[in-house]
């Protein structure tokens, strides 16, 4: 065990990455979640990323847990401690370990290959053998092998087993036998390493107090909770990775909060549509009828919904679309992340159309912006796109606890009720009474005076059918005015200025946030000072333009091939486009600071060369 300490270059406390390589369908997800949660409970900030294949069983999967005492929010891209449970990927897993790092493997079978790197310490634990001896049933043995490595990792890093036990107890509740079995497996791993590797590793987990007031939650669950709090009553969907868990979450929250205990009546309705065209059609129907309605989907779904989106835009029907983006094009990489539907969503559908978008960066914003999305949709009577992605939506993120103000009331926009209709002389659906581009709306069944006809074909301000050029233009011109006026209603940008004066800046969006902040620190350390603005809504708030104007050069950091955020900035602000330098990452992995640091450094180097 001595060489262990020798190999390690330095002792790293609460600052390393634990990466578990496994095969999907073996139940490793809960073991990995347990590890991460335990670290979090010890007060240590964590970043967790689950990398899984687009199939159900038998292919490689990885889970990264970054302990980050400095509370960074991104992947680091390194792996100091690899738990290599998948023989298929041994080679690549070993190669990935950082110099001086460790690799834990199942030594039930000899694995000489895993000892080929001088600068990596391989730690063998006979997980399978021990579990086979301890447990009967085949499936149990597979599951318990995972728990056994949890114990081994705990033993090696100093992770508190009591915390693990607490979590296991919470997890299984009253199912005593499951608690016993899992703890048994954990102890098998723990005891083995305590016996065979008594000296602690230089990678240490130590208690901190940096997670108080925080929770660990994924963005889809958070967005679902936002839908509940927004008072959404109707959701239609068609299953698609990575959006499925959003509707799963909505369903389980509604089942908790919205079912009448006596009658069993449900104060919500979820319909699994026959496809995405139907799902968005249903949400539009519900929105037209006055319910807060939404549909979660991913890129292929947005493509399929395109025709209906244009209808809701032109007919001015409120509806919220959650686009949990995944790597495209086409079916692409369904289990990899990207921010690749930005331009699509901004201008979705044929003809002249412009939409409202919100861009959450983490689960907390998912919760908050979900609520805002419904307010925006009703206020502006139009589809609102909630642009999240697989990384935000499906990974557990450490975020501050959600807050709620009980005085919140939904912004229903200009919606006339029965009495108001009774009082007015005549109602015209598309009459711009207030001159702000937003007209009054009525609901079916409320009053015969409120009756109007919603259509995707040419209509005039009265709501009547028209093919007259001037009448047609009046309506579509108002639609642009209305859209532009949303610039100050969408969530405003978040600006972070560096301490030193900076002539250059970064603009980024969504889940890149953590990576950008970390990259800024790294660049600052190299003497490159940058300010940073994160856009959170489209059309862009005026502050965005002002921020660009303030700087000589702005790096636009985003996760797609075609610089889509930059495209939107170029199109929809007055910023000169050569000021906007694209920094792109589209490998499908959650962002890490590396591509930003390297991208910006490389760019600055070229300037140096040129100068």
């Amino acid at each position: 065990m001595k060489d262990l300490v020798e190999t390690a270059s330095e002792v790293r406390v609460n600052d390393f990455v634990l990466k578990i390589a496994n095969v999907n369908g073996t139940g490793s997800a809960s073991a990995n979640g347990l590890l991460m949660k335990a670290i979090f409970r010890m007060g240590v900030p964590v970043v967790g990323k689950n990398l899984f294949p687009s199939n159900i069983q038998g292919l490689p999967t990885w889970y990264e847990i970054r302990l980050t005492k400095d509370a960074y929010m991104a992947r680091s891209g390194t792996a100091e401690f690899m738990v290599a449970m998948n023989a298929e990927t041994y080679k690549q897993d070993l190669a990935e370990v950082s110099p001086g790092g460790f690799l834990l493997y199942d030594s039930t079978w000899p694995r000489p290959d895993l000892h080929t790197r001088e600068d990596v310490t391989a730690i063998g634990v006979p997980l399978a053998r021990m579990c086979n001896e301890a447990f009967e049933n085949a499936r149990t043995r597979v599951l318990m092998k995972n728990m056994a490595y949890v114990g081994a990792v705990a033993g090696l890093t100093g992770l508190d087993v009591e915390v693990i036990k607490e979590l296991v107890t919470e997890m299984f509740g009253t199912k005593e036998h499951l608690i016993t079995a899992n703890m048994k497996a954990i102890n098998i791993g723990l005891d083995y390493v305590r016996e065979h590797f008594p000296d602690p590793l230089p990678l240490k987990v130590e208690r901190m107090d940096a997670t108080a007031g925080h929770i660990m939650i994924d963005g889809n669950t958070a967005a679902a909770l936002g839908c509940v709090y927004a008072g959404a009553t109707f959701g239609a969907w068609y299953p698609i990775t990575p959006s499925t868990s959003l509707m799963d979450g909505f369903k389980s929250f509604c089942e908790k909060f919205r079912v009448d205990k006596e009658t069993g009546e449900k104060n919500f309705c979820i319909v699994q549509g026959e496809d995405e065209l139907a799902s968005v059609g249903m949400a539009i129907g519900a929105g037209w009828n006055g319910a807060r309605a939404f549909t979660p989907t991913s890129g292929p779904g947005i493509s399929l919904m395109s025709e209906f989106i244009g209808f809701a835009y032109y007919g001015e029907v409120p509806v919220v679309l959650f686009d949990v983006q995944r790597a495209g094009p086409s079916t692409g990489l369904p289990t990899r992340t990207q921010q690749c539907d930005l331009t699509l969503a901004a201008y979705a559908s044929h003809g002249d159309t412009k939409h409202i978008l919100v861009f959450p960066a983490n689960p907390k914003e998912c919760f908050e912006m979900a609520v805002q999305s419904f307010d925006l949709a009703e206020r502006f009577q139009t589809p609102v796109f909630f642009m999240t992605d697989l990384d935000i939506g499906m990974n557990d993120w450490m975020v501050p606890e959600f807050e709620w103000d009980d005085s919140y009331q939904p912004d229903r926009g200009k919606l006339l009720n029965k009495d108001e209709l009774e009082a007015i002389e005549k109602f015209y659906r598309y009459e711009d009474k207030d001159g702000d581009g937003i007209t009054y709306r009525t609901l079916p069944g409320v009053h015969p005076k409120g009756a109007y006809f919603t259509r995707g074909s040419g209509h005039n301000w009265k709501g009547g059918y028209t093919e007259d050029a001037d009448e047609y233009k009046e309506v579509v011109d108002r639609l642009v005015r209305k859209w532009k006026s949303a610039a100050d209603a969408v969530p405003g940008p978040v600006v972070r200025r560096c301490d030193a004066p900076a002539s250059r800046a970064i603009i980024s969006v969504g889940g890149c946030d953590g990576a950008v902040i970390e990259a800024m620190d790294q660049l600052a350390a190299k003497g490159v000072n940058l300010n940073y603005l994160r856009v959170r809504g489209f059309p862009f708030n005026t502050e965005v333009e002002a921020f660009i104007a303030e700087h000589d050069e702005v790096f636009v950091v985003e996760q797609n091939r075609d610089a889509q955020l930059r495209t939107l900035l170029v199109n929809e602000t007055d910023a000169p486009k050569d000021k906007l330098v694209p920094v792109l990452d589209y490998a499908g992995m959650a962002a890490n600071p590396k591509f930003i640091v390297e991208g910006i450094t490389a760019y600055l180097d070229t300037l140096g060369d040129a100068a």
């Binding site: 909770l225 239609a236 908790k256 519900a286 037209w288 009828n289 209808f311 015969p448 259509r455």
Partner: protein, 350 residues
Amino acid sequence: MTSMPKPFIDKHLPKNKLGLTVRNYEGSMSTLCAGCGHDSVTAALVQAFWELSLAPESAAKVSGIGCSSKTTAYFMGQSHGINCVHGRMPSVATGANAVNGDLHYIGISGDGDSLSIGFGQFAHAIRRNLNMLYILENNGVYGLTKGQFSAAADIGSTTKKGVPNEQTPIDPCIQALTLGAGFVARAFSGDKSQLVPLVKAALMHKGFALIDVISPCVTFNDHAGSTKSYAHTYKYYHPLVHTDFVAHAEEITGEYADDGAMRVTLHDGGELRLRKTDTDYDPRDKAQAIETLMMNGGDGEIRTGLLYLNEDMPDMHAANKLPQKPLNQLPYEALNPGKAALASLQKRYR
């Protein structure tokens, strides 16, 4: 051509229970071709609504795109209407209905709209037993795009120029039957006496009610070679079951009474009296209904009337255990768990 006609005053017209005349149920002027079957269906709808004394604002009109789909603008101008995209009316109806089941949903579609681009939505609305009246104005062609064959065109039916259709038609009634619809009827725009009571019955049926109305397109499919022409339909028209809708009837369920009519009490009120023309036809027997319709190909007869009825299937609202009070009318307080619940919920994420 505004969608909100002024209140009509006409002293000489009879009034229904709400004190409204038939004018109160009319819409804007039709822009269809003179003689188009669809206009007769529009008239039947106006008549049925007036006769039922339903408040105009209690209806919600939904449609797709096509000459047929346009007609929702031509009746009941005092009801909301939504004329969405081609073939996707059923989904809009589903969402609208889910959040307010108190309205009467009237979907108008065409054979192109329902059987080609919209076939999936048509099928799945039936599967969900969406509580609505679904009228398919069937003319065998795409009227609005100038006369291409639709999927309902019969084999051998010809275009104006004489080119025959060679593809197997889709029979919406057979499909509805096999997909589980509880109310399946066929009618002809040329016979209002049959259509009006069917519309009333369908409106009162709690669940998906299909009326496939042969509704000739005078401009593109009313020539000699067409099997969806007025002449052809009149010739082969064969009413199987005659339906009368009687409001607020006494409780007499099932089985044939002495007057030879079968009486069925509907969940939403009223009674149906079914009088068979063919003595051996039983509108409760799905297999017989399918077989009878499949025979059409054989003798060419167009069998009409309420072909099948099963009023005991849970509709979408029941299946989803939706509340009495429409979702769109629940107060926000009933929907929002509040600050305290949020705090306690979050313990699970620590």
